[in-house]
């Protein structure tokens, strides 16, 4: 049975190494500072009591005032999971550090988020649209995308 990691211990660990990283924490999830996401991810992956080496999925959700990026992590060694959430308040040009160098599985999923939401991932090896064609105007999964005009390939 996959249980969630002990979030209190994780908060202590993260605050000790990278101060100011945790904004809030719930029973299953941690809200973290988007500017420190790379160090947080590296610590979570390599620390020997956590070893969260498997990135299950990266998602983005458009709450109108902010974008929220949700990371679902898993430790196959200890069979524990964790959810990380960050909020991006810049609606025009949101951007966040790419985690491809920590988990390679982030590569295609981050491209999809750029394609459908318009959130740029810095230092991504191949930041191009993946599901829509280059030259498509707009980012469909945003709540203000109406999709009324026809776009030619």
């Amino acid at each position: 049975m996959t249980r969630v990691v002990d979030t209190i211990k994780v908060v202590e660990l993260l605050e000790a190494e990278i101060s100011g990283s945790i904004l809030e924490h719930g029973q299953n999830e941690l809200f973290v500072d988007p500017n420190k996401i790379f160090e947080i991810a590296a610590l979570l992956k390599d620390h020997e009591t956590l070893e969260l080496g498997y990135l299950t999925s990266i998602t983005a959700v458009d709450y109108i005032e902010y974008f929220q990026i949700v990371y679902h992590l898993l430790s196959m060694k200890f069979n524990r999971s964790l959810i990380l959430k960050t909020n991006l308040y810049n609606r025009q040009n949101p951007s966040i550090q790419s985690l491809t160098r920590v988990w390679k599985g982030a590569e295609l999923q981050e491209r999809e988020i750029w394609d459908l939401f318009g959130i740029k991932f810095n230092e991504h090896p191949n930041m191009k649209r993946v599901l829509l064609w280059e030259g498509f105007q707009g980012h469909p999964l945003r709540k203000d995308f109406l999709g009324q005009e026809e776009q030619k390939i």
Partner: protein
């Protein structure tokens, strides 16, 4: 010229004498020519129609192997399906690329077809029944099938398409590599029968050479499947998935000629294998020789079809390695063993008695099986053994919380 032959169903001299009887004396060159043309006409038509029927046969039998029916709509058992195929191919537009070399482009399918057709000229169909009697029939067959290579290069080059030239070159590399084991397997047959003429080979087969030299038969069969670029050696044609085969730019009747030649090849291979290894038209006397011939050709063709339906494709570098390492070595082994055995068993008159033939056959079968097993191990079949699976330590599904 025609005095010493008599009898036989299809014999040049019989037909020549028919023409000769109603033409004036000094025009016997015309009788000669008309006899030749009519025989050639009959032979080519029979083979082409047999190919058309064979295409239907192949599609139906392959379909039955795959648990489905084949074409069965038009005519009983779909017998008229080849007519439908023919009409479809003829009415297609005949396109040529702009940068193509027109003469070479048009000549390539013709040469391909003629090379395949010309083999039937020397095959003995029944007792004293043949189209042409050549002393060096076997050499003729090996030489004519090599003309296919030239046709493929012409087809690949004349399109002006880079990828089809590449495809043609790979195909030619494979065909040339497999001609050597094929020729060496035939050497074994020549050694046993003492003559290169095909009717002489058929006469020498008191016991069919399949039983006497199975290794030679296997090598010849595998090499001829590769020569025809049929499964499991059809990497150059299936390459049309990725690159381009040599006949990509052909359409219409020119493509139809390529297809005709490609489907004629198994029939011709069946005929040659029957003549060389299965005893040609020899058989027990309660059926005429021509019928025995047909039955044997049919069974060889069926085995070729069976192989096509069953096995996946071999990768190109594995095909080349197989020819140059395995088949060549086995072919040399075959020749050496045969020479030694002929030395031992041949009596003063130069022929081998039936009992010695059976003994030779038994020894050769044992040698075949042992050498194939040894060759398989030597070529690395042991690398195909798989280790037992160990779960990785990186994941632990059953980890419980502390």
């Amino acid at each position: 010229m025609c005095n010493e032959f008599a009898g036989g169903l299809i014999h040049f001299c019989n037909i020549y004498s028919i023409f000769d009887s109603f033409l004036p004396e000094n025009l016997d060159w015309m009788a000669f020519m008309m006899a030749a043309i009519s025989l050639a006409f009959a032979a080519i038509n029979v083979v082409v129609m047999a190919t058309a029927l064979y295409i239907l046969f192949e599609r139906r039998v392959l379909a039955r192997f795959q648990a489905r029916l084949g074409p069965n709509r038009w005519g009983p058992f779909g017998i008229f399906q080849p007519i439908a195929d023919l009409i479809k191919i003829i009415t297609k537009e005949d396109t040529t690329t702009d940068i193509a070399d027109k003469i070479v482009h048009n000549l390539a399918p013709i040469i391909f077809l003629s090379a395949t057709l010309a083999v039937i000229a020397v095959i003995p169909l029944g007792n004293n029944s043949f189209l042409g009697k050549l002393n060096v029939g076997v050499l003729y067959i090996v030489a004519i099938t090599s003309v296919n290579v030239v046709a493929i290069i012409m087809a690949g080059w004349a399109d002006g398409n880079k990828y089809s030239m590449l495809g043609a070159m790979r195909g030619v590399a494979m065909l040339i590599s497999y001609e050597i084991p094929m020729g060496l397997a035939i050497v074994g047959v020549i050694l046993m029968s003492g003559t290169m003429s095909l009717s002489g080979i058929v006469e020498a087969q008191e016991l069919p050479f399949l039983l006497v030299q199975p290794l030679g038969f296997l090598i010849f069969l595998i090499a001829s499947i590769a020569e025809m670029s049929r499964a499991p050696f059809d990497q150059i044609e299936a390459e049309s998935e990725l690159g381009a085969g040599y006949h990509t730019e052909y359409s219409g009747m020119k493509f139809g000629i390529f297809q005709l030649a490609e489907f004629m090849a198994p029939l011709i291979t069946g005929i040659v294998v029957t003549t060389l290894f299965l005893g040609g038209f020899r058989g027990w006397a309660w059926l005429p020789g021509e019928l025995w011939f047909l039955i044997k050709v049919f069974s060889v063709v069926f085995v070729l079809l069976w192989i096509r339906a069953t096995w996946p494709r071999i990768r190109f570098d594995q095909i080349m390695a197989f020819s140059w390492k395995a088949l060549l070595a086995l072919a040399f082994l075959n020749i050496i063993i045969l020479v030694v055995e002929i030395e031992i068993f041949q009596d003063n008159l130069g022929s081998i008695s039936l009992n010695s033939l059976i003994l030779m056959g038994a020894i050769n079968w044992v040698v075949t099986i042992v050498s194939i097993v040894f060759m398989a191990n030597a070529l690395g079949q042991s690398k195909l053994k798989r280790p037992k699976a160990q779960p990785s330590s990186l994941a632990n599904m059953y980890a419980e919380s502390e």
